[in-house]
Amino acid sequence: MISIQSVSKSFGAGDRTTLALDAVSLEVASGEIFGVVGQSGAGKSTLIRTVNLLERPDSGTVFVDGVDLLALNRSQLRSTRQGIGMIFQHFNLLSSRTVQGNVELALEVIGTDARERKSRAAEILDLVGLTPKAQAYPSQLSGGQKQRVGIARALATRPKVLLSDEATSALDPETTGSILELLRTINAELGLTVLLITHEMDVVKTVCDSAALLEHGRIVETGKLVDLISTPGSRLARDLFPLGSVDVRPGTTVIDITFSGGTADRPVIAQLARDHQLDVSILGAAIETIGGSQAGRTRLELPGDAAVHTAVISDLRAQGLLVEIVGGVAA
Protein backbone atom coordinates (compact mmCIF):
# COMPACT_ATOMS: atom_id res chain seq x y z
CA MET A 1 0.00 0.00 0.00
CA ILE A 2 2.82 2.35 0.87
CA SER A 3 6.12 1.93 -0.87
CA ILE A 4 9.02 4.21 -0.13
CA GLN A 5 12.20 3.69 -2.12
CA SER A 6 15.57 5.14 -1.09
CA VAL A 7 14.15 8.41 0.12
CA SER A 8 16.66 10.99 1.33
CA LYS A 9 16.00 14.34 2.87
CA SER A 10 18.33 16.89 4.38
CA PHE A 11 17.69 20.15 6.17
CA GLY A 12 19.71 23.32 6.35
CA ALA A 13 22.36 24.47 3.95
CA GLY A 14 26.15 24.44 3.66
CA ASP A 15 28.06 23.22 6.69
CA ARG A 16 24.98 23.00 8.83
CA THR A 17 23.21 20.45 6.67
CA THR A 18 21.72 17.57 8.60
CA LEU A 19 20.69 14.43 6.82
CA ALA A 20 17.30 13.53 8.29
CA LEU A 21 16.64 10.56 6.03
CA ASP A 22 19.41 8.56 4.41
CA ALA A 23 18.16 6.37 1.55
CA VAL A 24 15.23 4.99 3.49
CA SER A 25 13.13 2.24 1.93
CA LEU A 26 9.95 0.92 3.45
CA GLU A 27 7.11 -1.36 2.36
CA VAL A 28 3.78 -1.27 4.14
CA ALA A 29 1.39 -4.01 3.09
CA SER A 30 -2.29 -3.33 2.60
CA GLY A 31 -4.35 -3.64 5.79
CA GLU A 32 -1.47 -3.87 8.24
CA ILE A 33 -0.41 -1.64 11.08
CA PHE A 34 3.20 -0.71 10.60
CA GLY A 35 5.19 1.01 13.28
CA VAL A 36 8.39 2.98 12.83
CA VAL A 37 10.29 3.26 16.10
CA GLY A 38 13.19 5.48 16.87
CA GLN A 39 14.47 8.04 19.31
CA SER A 40 13.76 11.71 18.86
CA GLY A 41 15.98 13.08 16.13
CA ALA A 42 16.05 9.76 14.28
CA GLY A 43 14.00 11.19 11.42
CA LYS A 44 10.66 9.50 12.14
CA SER A 45 8.54 12.61 11.68
CA THR A 46 10.30 13.52 8.49
CA LEU A 47 9.76 10.00 7.22
CA ILE A 48 6.03 9.91 7.88
CA ARG A 49 5.63 13.38 6.46
CA THR A 50 7.14 12.29 3.17
CA VAL A 51 4.29 9.79 2.76
CA ASN A 52 1.80 12.57 2.05
CA LEU A 53 4.49 14.95 0.86
CA LEU A 54 4.10 17.41 3.70
CA GLU A 55 7.84 17.02 3.39
CA ARG A 56 9.15 16.66 -0.14
CA PRO A 57 12.13 14.28 -0.27
CA ASP A 58 15.34 15.35 -2.01
CA SER A 59 15.51 12.03 -3.81
CA GLY A 60 13.79 8.68 -3.98
CA THR A 61 10.20 7.69 -4.76
CA VAL A 62 7.01 7.54 -2.76
CA PHE A 63 4.12 5.34 -3.91
CA VAL A 64 0.80 5.19 -2.09
CA ASP A 65 -1.81 2.78 -3.41
CA GLY A 66 0.12 2.56 -6.67
CA VAL A 67 0.28 6.31 -7.21
CA ASP A 68 3.66 7.97 -7.64
CA LEU A 69 3.18 11.00 -5.41
CA LEU A 70 6.23 12.85 -6.65
CA ALA A 71 4.90 12.80 -10.20
CA LEU A 72 1.69 14.62 -9.27
CA ASN A 73 0.93 18.27 -9.82
CA ARG A 74 -0.53 20.44 -7.09
CA SER A 75 -4.20 19.65 -7.61
CA GLN A 76 -3.60 15.93 -8.20
CA LEU A 77 -1.61 15.84 -4.99
CA ARG A 78 -4.46 17.53 -3.13
CA SER A 79 -6.95 14.91 -4.26
CA THR A 80 -4.51 12.08 -3.46
CA ARG A 81 -3.99 13.50 0.03
CA GLN A 82 -7.73 13.24 0.57
CA GLY A 83 -7.22 9.47 0.48
CA ILE A 84 -4.47 9.59 3.12
CA GLY A 85 -5.64 10.55 6.60
CA MET A 86 -3.22 11.90 9.16
CA ILE A 87 -3.33 12.36 12.92
CA PHE A 88 -0.91 14.40 14.97
CA GLN A 89 0.78 14.46 18.35
CA HIS A 90 -0.77 17.82 19.24
CA PHE A 91 -4.08 16.97 17.58
CA ASN A 92 -4.11 20.18 15.49
CA LEU A 93 -7.79 20.88 15.93
CA LEU A 94 -9.40 24.21 15.10
CA SER A 95 -10.21 25.95 18.37
CA SER A 96 -12.86 28.04 16.63
CA ARG A 97 -14.93 25.04 15.60
CA THR A 98 -16.93 22.47 17.50
CA VAL A 99 -16.04 18.78 17.41
CA GLN A 100 -18.54 18.27 14.63
CA GLY A 101 -17.21 21.35 12.81
CA ASN A 102 -13.69 19.96 12.96
CA VAL A 103 -14.79 16.69 11.43
CA GLU A 104 -16.84 18.49 8.80
CA LEU A 105 -13.76 20.48 7.79
CA ALA A 106 -12.36 17.42 6.05
CA LEU A 107 -15.62 17.05 4.12
CA GLU A 108 -15.86 20.76 3.28
CA VAL A 109 -12.44 20.49 1.70
CA ILE A 110 -13.64 17.84 -0.72
CA GLY A 111 -16.86 19.73 -1.42
CA THR A 112 -19.42 17.48 0.28
CA ASP A 113 -22.81 19.19 0.61
CA ALA A 114 -24.03 20.31 4.02
CA ARG A 115 -26.57 17.59 4.69
CA GLU A 116 -24.21 14.76 3.81
CA ARG A 117 -21.46 16.38 5.85
CA LYS A 118 -23.69 16.33 8.88
CA SER A 119 -24.71 12.70 8.53
CA ARG A 120 -21.16 11.53 7.78
CA ALA A 121 -19.80 13.48 10.76
CA ALA A 122 -22.43 11.91 13.01
CA GLU A 123 -21.55 8.46 11.69
CA ILE A 124 -17.84 8.82 12.22
CA LEU A 125 -18.21 10.47 15.64
CA ASP A 126 -20.26 7.48 16.64
CA LEU A 127 -17.42 5.20 15.49
CA VAL A 128 -14.89 7.01 17.68
CA GLY A 129 -17.35 7.24 20.55
CA LEU A 130 -17.73 11.01 20.70
CA THR A 131 -21.37 11.52 19.79
CA PRO A 132 -22.21 13.22 23.12
CA LYS A 133 -19.41 15.74 22.55
CA ALA A 134 -20.36 16.75 19.00
CA GLN A 135 -21.20 20.32 19.99
CA ALA A 136 -18.29 20.81 22.39
CA TYR A 137 -15.24 22.90 21.54
CA PRO A 138 -11.75 21.36 21.63
CA SER A 139 -10.82 23.41 24.71
CA GLN A 140 -13.52 21.51 26.61
CA LEU A 141 -12.10 18.09 25.77
CA SER A 142 -9.47 15.86 27.35
CA GLY A 143 -6.38 14.84 25.39
CA GLY A 144 -7.79 11.44 24.51
CA GLN A 145 -11.04 12.98 23.31
CA LYS A 146 -9.13 15.47 21.19
CA GLN A 147 -7.22 12.66 19.53
CA ARG A 148 -10.51 10.89 18.84
CA VAL A 149 -11.67 14.03 17.06
CA GLY A 150 -8.40 13.99 15.13
CA ILE A 151 -9.01 10.39 14.13
CA ALA A 152 -12.61 11.17 13.16
CA ARG A 153 -11.44 14.08 11.02
CA ALA A 154 -8.80 11.93 9.34
CA LEU A 155 -11.29 9.15 8.59
CA ALA A 156 -14.22 11.31 7.50
CA THR A 157 -13.26 11.14 3.84
CA ARG A 158 -12.87 7.33 3.93
CA PRO A 159 -9.12 7.17 3.29
CA LYS A 160 -7.32 3.90 2.65
CA VAL A 161 -4.27 4.91 4.62
CA LEU A 162 -3.89 6.52 8.02
CA LEU A 163 -0.65 8.18 9.07
CA SER A 164 -0.14 8.60 12.77
CA ASP A 165 2.54 11.09 13.81
CA GLU A 166 3.27 10.28 17.48
CA ALA A 167 -0.48 10.32 18.06
CA THR A 168 -0.28 8.95 21.58
CA SER A 169 2.90 10.65 22.77
CA ALA A 170 1.04 13.49 24.47
CA LEU A 171 -1.36 11.13 26.26
CA ASP A 172 -1.18 9.26 29.54
CA PRO A 173 -0.68 5.47 29.42
CA GLU A 174 -4.34 4.63 29.99
CA THR A 175 -5.59 6.99 27.29
CA THR A 176 -2.83 5.74 25.00
CA GLY A 177 -4.23 2.25 25.45
CA SER A 178 -7.75 3.30 24.49
CA ILE A 179 -6.56 5.23 21.44
CA LEU A 180 -4.47 2.25 20.30
CA GLU A 181 -7.47 0.01 20.77
CA LEU A 182 -9.48 2.38 18.60
CA LEU A 183 -6.77 2.23 15.92
CA ARG A 184 -6.93 -1.56 16.07
CA THR A 185 -10.70 -1.46 15.70
CA ILE A 186 -10.75 0.83 12.68
CA ASN A 187 -7.90 -1.13 11.15
CA ALA A 188 -9.97 -4.29 11.43
CA GLU A 189 -13.38 -2.82 10.60
CA LEU A 190 -12.41 -0.53 7.76
CA GLY A 191 -9.46 -2.50 6.44
CA LEU A 192 -7.39 0.63 6.90
CA THR A 193 -3.63 0.52 6.42
CA VAL A 194 -1.93 2.34 9.29
CA LEU A 195 1.59 3.72 9.32
CA LEU A 196 2.54 5.07 12.71
CA ILE A 197 5.66 6.50 14.19
CA THR A 198 6.45 6.39 17.85
CA HIS A 199 9.27 6.37 20.34
CA GLU A 200 7.36 4.01 22.62
CA MET A 201 8.06 0.31 22.18
CA ASP A 202 4.80 -0.41 23.98
CA VAL A 203 2.84 1.10 21.10
CA VAL A 204 4.53 -1.27 18.66
CA LYS A 205 3.99 -4.21 20.98
CA THR A 206 0.29 -3.39 21.42
CA VAL A 207 -0.89 -2.71 17.89
CA CYS A 208 1.69 -3.28 15.21
CA ASP A 209 1.91 -6.17 12.78
CA SER A 210 5.23 -5.01 11.41
CA ALA A 211 7.86 -2.61 12.57
CA ALA A 212 10.99 -0.84 11.49
CA LEU A 213 13.75 0.61 13.62
CA LEU A 214 14.99 3.99 12.47
CA GLU A 215 18.32 5.33 13.65
CA HIS A 216 20.10 8.44 12.42
CA GLY A 217 17.92 8.53 9.34
CA ARG A 218 18.54 4.91 8.42
CA ILE A 219 16.34 1.84 8.70
CA VAL A 220 18.33 -0.53 10.89
CA GLU A 221 15.87 -3.37 10.96
CA THR A 222 12.44 -4.09 9.51
CA GLY A 223 9.98 -6.95 9.29
CA LYS A 224 6.90 -8.58 10.73
CA LEU A 225 6.97 -8.74 14.50
CA VAL A 226 6.46 -12.51 14.53
CA ASP A 227 9.51 -12.91 12.30
CA LEU A 228 11.60 -10.36 14.15
CA ILE A 229 11.27 -12.10 17.50
CA SER A 230 12.74 -15.27 16.08
CA THR A 231 15.58 -13.43 14.39
CA PRO A 232 18.89 -13.82 16.26
CA GLY A 233 20.30 -10.52 17.41
CA SER A 234 17.23 -8.52 16.50
CA ARG A 235 17.35 -5.23 18.35
CA LEU A 236 13.63 -4.70 17.96
CA ALA A 237 12.99 -8.10 19.53
CA ARG A 238 15.34 -7.26 22.39
CA ASP A 239 13.50 -3.98 22.96
CA LEU A 240 10.15 -5.76 22.82
CA PHE A 241 11.20 -8.01 25.70
CA PRO A 242 13.45 -5.93 27.88
CA LEU A 243 15.24 -8.20 30.36
CA GLY A 244 17.60 -5.54 31.62
CA SER A 245 21.34 -5.85 32.10
CA VAL A 246 22.99 -8.83 33.73
CA ASP A 247 25.98 -9.66 35.87
CA VAL A 248 27.33 -13.07 34.87
CA ARG A 249 28.61 -14.88 37.91
CA PRO A 250 31.83 -16.91 37.51
CA GLY A 251 31.33 -20.53 36.54
CA THR A 252 27.95 -19.96 34.97
CA THR A 253 26.53 -19.19 31.55
CA VAL A 254 23.64 -16.84 30.97
CA ILE A 255 21.42 -17.48 27.97
CA ASP A 256 18.27 -15.88 26.56
CA ILE A 257 15.67 -18.22 25.08
CA THR A 258 13.01 -16.78 22.81
CA PHE A 259 9.74 -18.67 22.53
CA SER A 260 7.32 -17.99 19.76
CA GLY A 261 4.52 -19.75 17.95
CA GLY A 262 4.47 -23.50 18.73
CA THR A 263 7.34 -23.48 21.23
CA ALA A 264 5.65 -21.04 23.57
CA ASP A 265 3.59 -23.55 25.50
CA ARG A 266 6.14 -26.35 25.88
CA PRO A 267 7.65 -27.03 29.33
CA VAL A 268 11.15 -26.32 28.10
CA ILE A 269 12.78 -25.42 31.38
CA ALA A 270 11.36 -28.34 33.34
CA GLN A 271 12.57 -30.64 30.60
CA LEU A 272 16.01 -29.06 30.71
CA ALA A 273 16.31 -29.65 34.43
CA ARG A 274 15.20 -33.24 34.05
CA ASP A 275 17.31 -34.25 31.03
CA HIS A 276 20.55 -32.56 32.07
CA GLN A 277 20.17 -32.63 35.87
CA LEU A 278 20.79 -28.89 35.93
CA ASP A 279 19.63 -26.50 38.63
CA VAL A 280 18.60 -23.79 36.23
CA SER A 281 17.84 -20.34 37.65
CA ILE A 282 15.46 -17.99 35.89
CA LEU A 283 16.92 -14.48 35.91
CA GLY A 284 14.13 -12.77 34.00
CA ALA A 285 11.21 -13.38 31.73
CA ALA A 286 8.76 -11.49 29.57
CA ILE A 287 5.71 -12.84 27.78
CA GLU A 288 3.63 -10.86 25.33
CA THR A 289 0.96 -11.42 22.75
CA ILE A 290 2.47 -10.20 19.54
CA GLY A 291 0.69 -10.25 16.23
CA GLY A 292 -1.99 -12.42 17.80
CA SER A 293 0.35 -15.17 19.06
CA GLN A 294 2.15 -15.75 22.31
CA ALA A 295 5.79 -14.92 22.41
CA GLY A 296 8.24 -14.58 25.19
CA ARG A 297 11.80 -14.45 26.29
CA THR A 298 13.40 -16.06 29.31
CA ARG A 299 16.85 -15.44 30.70
CA LEU A 300 18.43 -18.46 32.34
CA GLU A 301 21.56 -19.01 34.37
CA LEU A 302 23.21 -22.40 33.87
CA PRO A 303 25.57 -23.66 36.57
CA GLY A 304 28.33 -26.15 35.97
CA ASP A 305 31.01 -26.41 33.30
CA ALA A 306 31.20 -25.16 29.75
CA ALA A 307 30.89 -28.58 28.08
CA VAL A 308 27.49 -29.19 29.67
CA HIS A 309 26.39 -25.69 28.69
CA THR A 310 27.30 -26.26 25.07
CA ALA A 311 25.36 -29.50 25.05
CA VAL A 312 22.33 -27.80 26.61
CA ILE A 313 22.41 -24.97 24.12
CA SER A 314 22.65 -27.23 21.11
CA ASP A 315 19.85 -29.36 22.57
CA LEU A 316 17.61 -26.30 22.93
CA ARG A 317 18.44 -25.14 19.43
CA ALA A 318 17.57 -28.57 18.12
CA GLN A 319 14.09 -28.07 19.54
CA GLY A 320 13.68 -25.01 17.34
CA LEU A 321 14.22 -22.45 20.07
CA LEU A 322 16.14 -19.26 19.54
CA VAL A 323 19.01 -19.25 22.03
CA GLU A 324 21.34 -16.33 22.52
CA ILE A 325 24.36 -16.54 24.79
CA VAL A 326 24.56 -13.42 26.92
CA GLY A 327 27.83 -14.28 28.61
CA GLY A 328 29.70 -16.73 30.82
CA VAL A 329 31.89 -19.75 30.46
CA ALA A 330 30.30 -21.06 27.27
CA ALA A 331 30.48 -17.68 25.53
Partner: protein
Protein backbone atom coordinates in the same frame (compact mmCIF):
# COMPACT_ATOMS: atom_id res chain seq x y z
CA UNK B 1 -14.73 85.08 20.67
CA UNK B 2 -17.80 83.12 21.65
CA UNK B 3 -20.22 84.28 24.31
CA UNK B 4 -20.63 81.38 26.69
CA UNK B 5 -23.34 83.27 28.57
CA UNK B 6 -25.57 83.47 25.49
CA UNK B 7 -28.83 81.52 26.04
CA UNK B 8 -28.35 79.62 22.78
CA UNK B 9 -24.72 78.69 23.52
CA UNK B 10 -25.27 75.10 24.65
CA UNK B 11 -27.84 74.24 21.98
CA UNK B 12 -25.51 75.65 19.35
CA UNK B 13 -22.61 73.74 20.83
CA UNK B 14 -24.47 70.47 20.75
CA UNK B 15 -25.62 71.10 17.21
CA UNK B 16 -22.07 71.76 16.11
CA UNK B 17 -20.72 68.75 18.02
CA UNK B 18 -23.46 66.52 16.65
CA UNK B 19 -22.64 67.50 13.07
CA UNK B 20 -18.96 67.01 13.84
CA UNK B 21 -19.66 63.59 15.33
CA UNK B 22 -21.71 62.63 12.28
CA UNK B 23 -18.87 63.63 9.99
CA UNK B 24 -16.33 61.78 12.12
CA UNK B 25 -18.41 58.62 12.13
CA UNK B 26 -18.84 58.93 8.38
CA UNK B 27 -15.09 59.38 7.76
CA UNK B 28 -14.04 56.75 10.24
CA UNK B 29 -16.71 54.30 9.12
CA UNK B 30 -15.76 54.40 5.47
CA UNK B 31 -12.05 54.54 6.18
CA UNK B 32 -12.48 51.45 8.36
CA UNK B 33 -14.40 49.67 5.65
CA UNK B 34 -11.67 50.28 3.07
CA UNK B 35 -9.05 49.42 5.64
CA UNK B 36 -10.57 46.01 6.20
CA UNK B 37 -11.18 45.37 2.50
CA UNK B 38 -7.57 46.16 1.58
CA UNK B 39 -5.73 45.54 4.84
CA UNK B 40 -6.96 42.01 5.46
CA UNK B 41 -5.77 40.52 2.16
CA UNK B 42 -2.62 42.61 2.39
CA UNK B 43 -1.84 41.18 5.82
CA UNK B 44 -2.52 37.65 4.60
CA UNK B 45 -0.25 38.19 1.61
CA UNK B 46 2.45 39.61 3.87
CA UNK B 47 2.53 36.39 5.90
CA UNK B 48 1.88 34.11 2.96
CA UNK B 49 4.69 35.37 0.77
CA UNK B 50 7.26 34.91 3.52
CA UNK B 51 9.76 32.11 3.09
CA UNK B 52 8.02 28.79 3.44
CA UNK B 53 4.64 30.54 3.56
CA UNK B 54 1.45 29.58 1.82
CA UNK B 55 2.11 31.85 -1.16
CA UNK B 56 5.91 31.71 -1.14
CA UNK B 57 5.59 29.96 -4.47
CA UNK B 58 3.42 32.66 -6.04
CA UNK B 59 2.43 31.85 -9.63
CA UNK B 60 4.77 28.88 -9.48
CA UNK B 61 7.82 31.00 -8.84
CA UNK B 62 9.68 31.50 -5.61
CA UNK B 63 11.21 34.69 -6.98
CA UNK B 64 7.80 36.25 -7.59
CA UNK B 65 6.73 35.40 -4.05
CA UNK B 66 9.88 36.93 -2.62
CA UNK B 67 9.60 40.08 -4.69
CA UNK B 68 5.93 40.54 -3.77
CA UNK B 69 6.84 40.11 -0.12
CA UNK B 70 9.62 42.70 -0.31
CA UNK B 71 7.46 45.21 -2.15
CA UNK B 72 4.51 44.83 0.23
CA UNK B 73 6.79 45.07 3.23
CA UNK B 74 8.34 48.23 1.83
CA UNK B 75 4.95 49.83 1.13
CA UNK B 76 3.66 48.95 4.57
CA UNK B 77 6.75 50.37 6.27
CA UNK B 78 6.56 53.50 4.16
CA UNK B 79 2.87 53.98 4.94
CA UNK B 80 3.53 53.51 8.63
CA UNK B 81 6.56 55.74 8.92
CA UNK B 82 5.34 58.91 7.18
CA UNK B 83 3.71 61.23 9.74
CA UNK B 84 0.00 61.51 9.03
CA UNK B 85 -0.08 65.26 8.66
CA UNK B 86 2.61 65.08 5.99
CA UNK B 87 1.02 62.08 4.26
CA UNK B 88 -2.30 63.90 4.14
CA UNK B 89 -0.78 66.87 2.34
CA UNK B 90 1.54 64.81 0.15
CA UNK B 91 -1.29 62.77 -1.33
CA UNK B 92 -3.57 65.73 -2.10
CA UNK B 93 -3.17 65.18 -5.87
CA UNK B 94 -4.20 61.55 -5.43
CA UNK B 95 -7.15 62.47 -3.21
CA UNK B 96 -8.28 64.99 -5.80
CA UNK B 97 -8.04 62.35 -8.49
CA UNK B 98 -10.18 59.92 -6.51
CA UNK B 99 -12.77 62.19 -4.90
CA UNK B 100 -12.52 65.33 -7.03
CA UNK B 101 -11.64 67.53 -4.06
CA UNK B 102 -9.32 67.42 -1.08
CA UNK B 103 -11.60 69.32 1.29
CA UNK B 104 -14.38 67.85 3.39
CA UNK B 105 -15.14 64.56 5.10
CA UNK B 106 -15.37 62.51 1.90
CA UNK B 107 -11.92 63.60 0.79
CA UNK B 108 -10.59 62.80 4.27
CA UNK B 109 -11.53 59.16 3.83
CA UNK B 110 -8.66 58.75 1.35
CA UNK B 111 -5.73 59.66 3.61
CA UNK B 112 -7.39 58.02 6.59
CA UNK B 113 -7.69 54.75 4.71
CA UNK B 114 -4.16 55.04 3.40
CA UNK B 115 -2.70 55.45 6.84
CA UNK B 116 -4.85 52.75 8.42
CA UNK B 117 -4.37 50.05 5.78
CA UNK B 118 -0.67 49.36 6.49
CA UNK B 119 -1.36 49.58 10.20
CA UNK B 120 -4.14 47.04 10.04
CA UNK B 121 -2.17 44.84 7.63
CA UNK B 122 0.54 44.51 10.31
CA UNK B 123 -2.12 43.63 12.87
CA UNK B 124 -3.49 40.95 10.55
CA UNK B 125 0.04 39.69 9.95
CA UNK B 126 0.69 39.33 13.68
CA UNK B 127 -2.69 37.68 14.28
CA UNK B 128 -2.12 35.12 11.53
CA UNK B 129 1.41 34.36 12.68
CA UNK B 130 -0.06 33.41 16.04
CA UNK B 131 -2.09 30.62 14.43
CA UNK B 132 -0.49 27.24 15.18
CA UNK B 133 1.34 26.08 12.02
CA UNK B 134 0.14 22.59 12.88
CA UNK B 135 -3.34 23.64 11.80
CA UNK B 136 -2.14 24.58 8.35
CA UNK B 137 -0.34 21.27 8.22
CA UNK B 138 -3.50 19.38 9.20
CA UNK B 139 -5.45 21.19 6.50
CA UNK B 140 -2.69 20.37 4.03
CA UNK B 141 -2.94 16.71 4.96
CA UNK B 142 -6.68 16.88 4.25
CA UNK B 143 -5.89 18.14 0.77
CA UNK B 144 -7.10 21.69 1.34
CA UNK B 145 -6.35 24.34 -1.27
CA UNK B 146 -4.55 27.54 -0.37
CA UNK B 147 -7.80 29.47 -0.52
CA UNK B 148 -9.45 26.93 1.80
CA UNK B 149 -6.55 27.20 4.22
CA UNK B 150 -6.91 30.98 4.30
CA UNK B 151 -10.70 31.06 4.56
CA UNK B 152 -11.31 28.03 6.76
CA UNK B 153 -8.23 27.95 8.95
CA UNK B 154 -6.18 31.11 9.14
CA UNK B 155 -8.88 33.78 9.22
CA UNK B 156 -11.30 32.02 11.59
CA UNK B 157 -8.50 31.04 13.96
CA UNK B 158 -6.96 34.51 13.90
CA UNK B 159 -10.31 36.27 14.29
CA UNK B 160 -10.07 37.01 18.04
CA UNK B 161 -6.65 38.65 17.62
CA UNK B 162 -7.82 40.44 14.51
CA UNK B 163 -10.74 41.99 16.37
CA UNK B 164 -8.37 43.36 18.97
CA UNK B 165 -6.14 44.66 16.19
CA UNK B 166 -9.17 46.26 14.59
CA UNK B 167 -9.99 48.08 17.83
CA UNK B 168 -6.49 49.55 17.91
CA UNK B 169 -6.85 50.47 14.25
CA UNK B 170 -10.19 52.24 14.76
CA UNK B 171 -8.76 54.17 17.66
CA UNK B 172 -5.94 55.44 15.53
CA UNK B 173 -8.29 56.26 12.66
CA UNK B 174 -10.36 58.36 15.08
CA UNK B 175 -7.14 59.90 16.31
CA UNK B 176 -6.06 60.80 12.77
CA UNK B 177 -9.58 61.91 11.82
CA UNK B 178 -9.22 64.75 14.29
CA UNK B 179 -6.14 65.87 12.43
CA UNK B 180 -7.93 66.24 9.12
CA UNK B 181 -9.74 69.13 10.81
CA UNK B 182 -6.57 71.13 10.21
CA UNK B 183 -7.09 71.00 6.47
CA UNK B 184 -10.83 71.58 6.57
CA UNK B 185 -11.70 67.92 6.60
CA UNK B 186 -14.59 68.38 8.99
CA UNK B 187 -15.45 66.19 11.94
CA UNK B 188 -14.88 66.57 15.66
CA UNK B 189 -11.29 67.69 15.13
CA UNK B 190 -12.59 70.52 13.00
CA UNK B 191 -14.99 71.56 15.80
CA UNK B 192 -12.19 71.55 18.33
CA UNK B 193 -9.95 73.66 16.12
CA UNK B 194 -12.51 76.17 14.86
CA UNK B 195 -14.37 76.73 18.13
CA UNK B 196 -12.01 75.64 20.83
CA UNK B 197 -8.70 76.85 19.43
CA UNK B 198 -9.54 79.71 17.09
CA UNK B 199 -12.40 81.11 19.18
CA UNK B 200 -11.11 80.16 22.64
CA UNK B 201 -14.17 78.12 23.71
CA UNK B 202 -13.09 75.71 26.38
CA UNK B 203 -16.51 74.00 26.60
CA UNK B 204 -16.20 72.95 22.95
CA UNK B 205 -12.84 71.34 23.59
CA UNK B 206 -14.05 69.56 26.68
CA UNK B 207 -17.20 68.26 25.01
CA UNK B 208 -15.25 67.05 21.95
CA UNK B 209 -12.77 65.23 24.19
CA UNK B 210 -15.57 63.55 26.11
CA UNK B 211 -17.42 62.52 22.93
CA UNK B 212 -14.26 61.05 21.36
CA UNK B 213 -13.37 59.27 24.58
CA UNK B 214 -16.82 57.71 24.84
CA UNK B 215 -16.70 56.73 21.16
CA UNK B 216 -13.35 54.96 21.59
CA UNK B 217 -14.57 53.22 24.73
CA UNK B 218 -17.67 51.92 22.97
CA UNK B 219 -15.73 50.66 19.95
CA UNK B 220 -13.09 49.04 22.13
CA UNK B 221 -15.84 47.37 24.13
CA UNK B 222 -17.48 46.00 21.00
CA UNK B 223 -14.17 44.67 19.65
CA UNK B 224 -13.28 43.04 22.96
CA UNK B 225 -16.71 41.44 23.08
CA UNK B 226 -16.24 39.91 19.64
CA UNK B 227 -12.69 38.86 20.38
CA UNK B 228 -13.93 36.95 23.41
CA UNK B 229 -16.87 35.49 21.54
CA UNK B 230 -14.66 34.02 18.86
CA UNK B 231 -11.94 32.85 21.22
CA UNK B 232 -12.73 29.31 22.29
CA UNK B 233 -9.47 28.79 24.09
CA UNK B 234 -10.33 30.34 27.41
CA UNK B 235 -8.66 27.49 29.29
CA UNK B 236 -5.74 27.13 26.85
CA UNK B 237 -6.43 24.73 24.02
CA UNK B 238 -4.37 21.76 25.07
CA UNK B 239 -2.33 22.92 27.94
CA UNK B 240 0.27 24.55 25.75
CA UNK B 241 0.12 28.00 24.23
CA UNK B 242 0.73 28.69 20.55
CA UNK B 243 4.10 30.11 21.47
CA UNK B 244 5.26 27.06 23.37
CA UNK B 245 4.03 24.76 20.63
CA UNK B 246 6.01 26.83 18.17
CA UNK B 247 9.05 26.50 20.41
CA UNK B 248 8.59 22.76 20.53
CA UNK B 249 8.34 22.61 16.76
CA UNK B 250 11.34 24.84 16.21
CA UNK B 251 13.55 22.85 18.52
CA UNK B 252 12.59 19.63 16.80
CA UNK B 253 12.95 20.55 13.14
CA UNK B 254 14.97 17.52 12.26
CA UNK B 255 12.23 15.25 13.57
Amino acid sequence: MIDTASPTFWTELFQVVLIGLGQTLYMVGFALLFTIIVGLPLGILLVGTERGGLFSNLFGSRAVGRIVNRVLDFIVNLGRSVPFIILMIAIIPFTRLVVGTFIGPTAAIVPLSLVAIPFFARMVEIAIKEVDPGLTEAADSLGASRWQIVSKILVPEALPSMFLGLATTVTSIINFSAMVGTVAGGGLGDVAIRYGYQRFSTPHIVVVIIVIFVLVMILQGIATYFAKRFARTASGSDGSTAASRKFIRDTAISE
